[in-house]
Amino acid sequence: MLLRLLDLLGRDTTGYNRAELQFPGLGSPLFFAALLLGGLALFLVLRRPLPLVSRPRRALLALLRGTAVFLVVAVSLQPRVQLQNALRLKNHVALLVDRTASMTLPDEKDGVSRAERAGLLLKESAEWIEKLEKDFVVDRWGFSGTGESFAMGQISRAEMEDGGESAGRSTDISALVEELVKVYADQPFSGTVLFTDGGDTEELGRAGDRSELRKLLRRLEPEKVGAPLSTVALGEVEPFKDLSVARIKADEFGFVRNSVEIEVIVRAKGFGELTVPLTLRRGRELLHTQPVRLREGQEEYRVKISFKPMQVGEFIYTLTLPAMEGEKLTENNKKSFRLKVIRDRIRVLQVVGSPSWDERFVRRMLKRDPNVDLISFFILREAHENPGVRENELSLIPFPTQEVFDKQLPTFDVVILQNFRYNLFFRVTRRHLRNMRDFVVEKGGGFIMLGGSRSFQLGQYRGTPIEEILPVRLTTHMGRTGEDRQINADRFAMELTPAGAVHPITRLHPSAERNREIWAAMPLLDGVNLVGGLMPGGTALGVHPTLKTPGGEPLPVVAVRNVGRGRTMSIATDSTWYWNYLPAAEGGTNRHYYKFWREALRWLIHDPELKLVSASSPRTSYPPGEEATIAVEVLDNDYKGLENARIEAEAEPLEGGKREKLVMRSLGGGRYETSFTPSGEGFYRVEVKAGRGREAGGEKEAGEPYEHLGEDTLYLEVLSGRKEFENPRVNRELLKELARRTGGESVAADDGALERISFDNPEVFKILSFKDLPIWDNLFFLLLVVSLFTAEWLLRRRWGGA
């Protein structure tokens, strides 16, 4: 229209197909200044009384003034006509189809999967599609997730209609909305149609109710997409039979021997009134069974389970529900979580048969350590000792044998029996000794027996469950006259064994030479229990310089042993307190005594910091098919990185499968690396063992003998699509809310569903070239304004005005 007018006025419009009236000055400072001045001028003029003239004349004067002021303001708008060579653009419409694993779930009525349903619907709506393609640019997208990241990619019409592969392991609609905002930020965009079951596995899917969902969507601002987002819900609204461990709320770490509470969301559909067992296992060990009572009409159950991890470390726990009859999907009946079990304070139980200086210094050392929670029981009086006073004049309390050795024992990390003859006291029986053995062997506890006239053989432990866990045997030493000798009262200097020279307990200084000097300077000890040789797996750290065991080996004074899951230590003397008091009172240091005991406790409780071999991975979870990297650090006994370490590493799936040997490559400085590609989903255990010297069994090989330095275990999770099946229902709420907030439609995937979805199609042009024709910037405009003001002035004068 405007272009035609310009043609009529004789302007050259060749090469342009569009003309547009524009006001670039609108909103400029000049415009506001003109508006202000014009307004002011009008006010001043109107304020002055008009001459006493007839009404038509007054109207003419007002018209002239008003038009003149209007033109002044119009000038400030800098009006122009822009001649454009413009291209009309089509608006985009995005068709997005869910490509995650839950889309493979078939409908009960006809066995058609959700993905296939989307394809069918698109095929059936060919007419709607054709019309859409005529008016819009139709972009076809597939979206899915890896569990860790979101992915969206363009697909062809055929791919969209044929169902395609739905293998994504997570659905993240928040990420989808953010991606749409990015993709269509600079394009004419009319809307989106989202084909999905709404099974969001991330934040939106976890919304507890509608209000929480609305809150999340408000934060997400789907309106920013800039066009309506319509949703097509795929899948049956009516639930099929399904029982699932939908979600586990658990902290990343818990404290050993303290209750860890987890919350499990169990979902059940289609089972009516029923009670099902929910089991918690660590590996194959059953830790807890919790009955879950299902009720008609209730889909979600919050189950709280509390258990006490008894060992420090990182573990995988699995919650399982039974596979029920008629259940189509059993993958979601099991779910695992990882828990790092750490230590709070080291709980030590010290049981002493008789007050002594050794007891006094051990207790004081433990009591002053802020990392130790010490419970002591001293036998201050034996049954035959009669103080000759009434009981209430004594401070003695009955030793709570049952409470300590039956109930509370598992709450301790380390038990110390110090010069304690068990069968003299308080109904301590072999059953209690068995409990102590089990505490070490099965529960991974630490145990120390300290010497004295009531310890080892003299404590009547020979042939008891305690002997089974000690690092030393309790065999008989026979003297020349054939008598049973159980103590040697001579003074002696304990000698470190080669194992003792490098063991964390007796390595009091990183330098081997300095360590030897320290031990050589330690005060002599007084008296030793004549224990037997080492038990299998026992290691002597310090031995008597002259006395031998009946087997002819140097008599172990300090010995250690790994027993089952726990560790034990024996100190066959009651005079280690000399290492504390004598040097300190003589102006030296007692720090070696403290270090000896501190390291002993750390070793007994499997302190991870004492590990010489540690394995790690940059990630704790990997998508299937992705290579997992394992880094291993091996330290020598002096805690320096060990080159040329002998490392054996294997990876195996926790749920059974082939063990894979891993080959290490050295990165230098004691660091090694390997990688493997997990074969399937689930948790994998990577076990690493390392040592120094020649390989175990390589007896003919020259060089240093093999020395085992340690091992470490690492758990990796290979993410699965199970997340997708945790809650396989169609999330209509989410889809409706998304559509409502963006002005779109939410429809079910039935006949004619797509016909109900329509899009605005505003004209959008792309300007290829243009020319501006200013309207105000000419002599005619200026003369017009001046003429109007002049005419008004002249007429007013003529008609008798001022």
């Binding site: 007050p355 002591s376 001293f378 000792e385």
Partner: protein, 252 residues
Amino acid sequence: MKRHRIFLAILLALLALGALLSAPSLRAMGRRSLVSWVQIKYDGDWNPNPSAARSIVSYLLRVTSVEATTERAVFEVQSPELLYNPFAYMTGCRSFDPWPEADVKRLRDYLSFGGTLLLDDCQGVVGYGFDAGVRRLVSRLYPDRPLAPLPVGHAVYQTFFLLDRIGGRNAVSDIFLGVNLDDRSPILYSRNDLGGAWAKGFEGGWVHKCEPGGERQRSLGFRAGVNAIMYALTVNYKTDQIHIPFILRRRR
């Protein structure tokens, strides 16, 4: 005459058996592993009651599970053997000369790193005699930690016997004085002449009368001695949380 010899032989055999039974366990780990009653010898009146040690240790052995030797050990403060015995007893009736600085330092180290000293004034007059010497010595040992009363709630009154007062030959004070270092009291000071209450004559009778409380006061003196050595051996064991309800109940 022959009957007299048989009687004498039986008597000697019984004495030998008694000595054997009263001796420390033959299976002791070493002589030093037994708790010894160590008395500090200094220039002055260090030994007013020579028989007190055997008497109190015999009582200790009779009533507690502590493995101790009845033989008193006497050491000067510079003796290396003193360090093998983290409990020492020092008594006297009269004042004593100020100790050389080296001896003060030695005793300070002995106490500061775990030793306990039981001081016992057999005269019991504040500011005179042994008391004057003790106060001078303590002020040099711990210049910023003066002797202070140890109230009845202190662990030393409940390490074995529950005491609300200490006995002795005299009854100058119901409580110990002491020096507090961190959470323990390395010095316990009685002004009641505990040693005088423990001392026995050659024929087994008491050397001194306990006044004004008589035998009850003597008994409390023995109990105070046992508690003092138990305190050295167990320190604050009886203030552990597990003991508190029992002790409070019994003290009611």
